[in-house]
Amino acid sequence: MIRFQNVTKIYPPDNAILEDISFEINKGEFVSIVGKSGAGKTTLIKMILGLEVPTHGDVFFEGENIHKVGSKMLQKIRRQIGGIYQDYKLLPQKTVFENVAYIMEIEGKTNREIEVRVPQVLEAIGLKEKIDNFPEELSGGEQQRLAIARALVKQPDVIIADEPTGNLDPYNTYEVITLLEKIHKTGKTVVLSTHDREIVNKLGKRVITIENGRLVRDEQNGRFII
């Protein structure tokens, strides 16, 4: 489903962030990408979304070379990916309802579909009471749950979570990881980037370890070893 083929990223003049990375993520997998801060995890995640361009090598999503497709195709690929980020990336001028509805609106869903689906997702995620609040009126945990609701509402093929618990306390961290596990159980592919040892060891899923821009370990039922 997602394939990295000899990907290298060098920032000028010669700052290599990623070096010759190759791996493949199959449909329905739960993969944790681990590494210290600055190891290159976020750059790797950004490449899947087409936000960073590799200096060498290619990144494929469902057979499409992400960095060679046109703007329309790239937007189509992005719509198939549900993104959850450390800084939430919510739309601050839209309410909780509008943040989630926006995703359905850009997909051209009808108002009726939006009115039915959005409250369902918000209820499932525990934010129905906050439907008319703006993101700045929510706690960090609530904002991250809103980001998850937004990722889920379009029923994407893949969920990409880039340090989703980076700004959360242990209770909210547990909630977010539990939600990701639930999403995975519905058959979705989940890519989790983290440097949280406890989370990775508890999950017991596939672990790709990045160190100084290099892929040093790729293990099924892996553990956080750096």
Partner: protein, 303 residues
Amino acid sequence: MANFSRVLHFALLHFYRNRGTSIAAIFILTITTLLITGLFFMHGVSNFVVQTVQDKIDITAYFKSDAAEQEILNVRQALLDQSTSIKRIEYVSKEAALADFNEKHQDNAVFLRALAEVGQNPFLPSLNIITNGDTSQYETIANILQQDEYSSVIEKVDFSEKKDTIEKVFSITSSATTFGLALGVLMLFIAILVVLNTIKLIVETSGQEISTMRIVGASNWFIRGPFIIQGAIFGGISFIICFFVTAACTYFLSGGLSVIMPGFNLFGYFLANMLLIIILQLAAGVGLGSVLSFIVVRKYLKI
């Protein structure tokens, strides 16, 4: 259509939720549109002044007292045939000149008595020539009149006496027009820069939001549309304000201005050019608002 109504809804929502910046943007656009409208009126006023000055400058050819009317009319025809820049030529006969003098000085007993003592009509027949204002044409016309074939009928041409004054006046009006145009272009440039920066500030406050919209897969139109429509709304509101301010100002200033510039009706000028003013104000408000929004948002769509 559903997409358009959503984009329109986003634009209205953004406009409402950012009332402070919206009002600021409308204010800036209103000032700019008023400035452009002001330049338009300045152009009209300066044209009127230049026209008035030009109409007052003429060449008069005085004919000998015994010149036959047909001979004078032949000269008139020759002038019309040989110069394309003549606006009009008025023939004033001896009798008409006398009648005009009598009418002008009917209350002045000294003048009338002096005329009576002369005993006969002392006025000469003349051709009063008004050109389109090109000073070089005065020279041409003077040359035609000074040809030998007309020397037997023409007493004098008063162009050479007025030459310096004419050239000075035309130099001033020409400089005024050029200066007005340069000032207008400069003001317009500054106005566009001010509006551009205002819209840039508004869009920049949404920069992060635009990036997020791109990441979640929104199309360019879905992101850009609300800003363009919002820019058009700013422009539309500023147009309405400007139109009524212009109408009110011209209506109330018209009387005062006609005292300074007799014959110029400011409100009449507004009414006569209303369609042009509407197009100008719409282009300045709606056009600038939406086009500049389109340009500014483009920067954020490159991810």
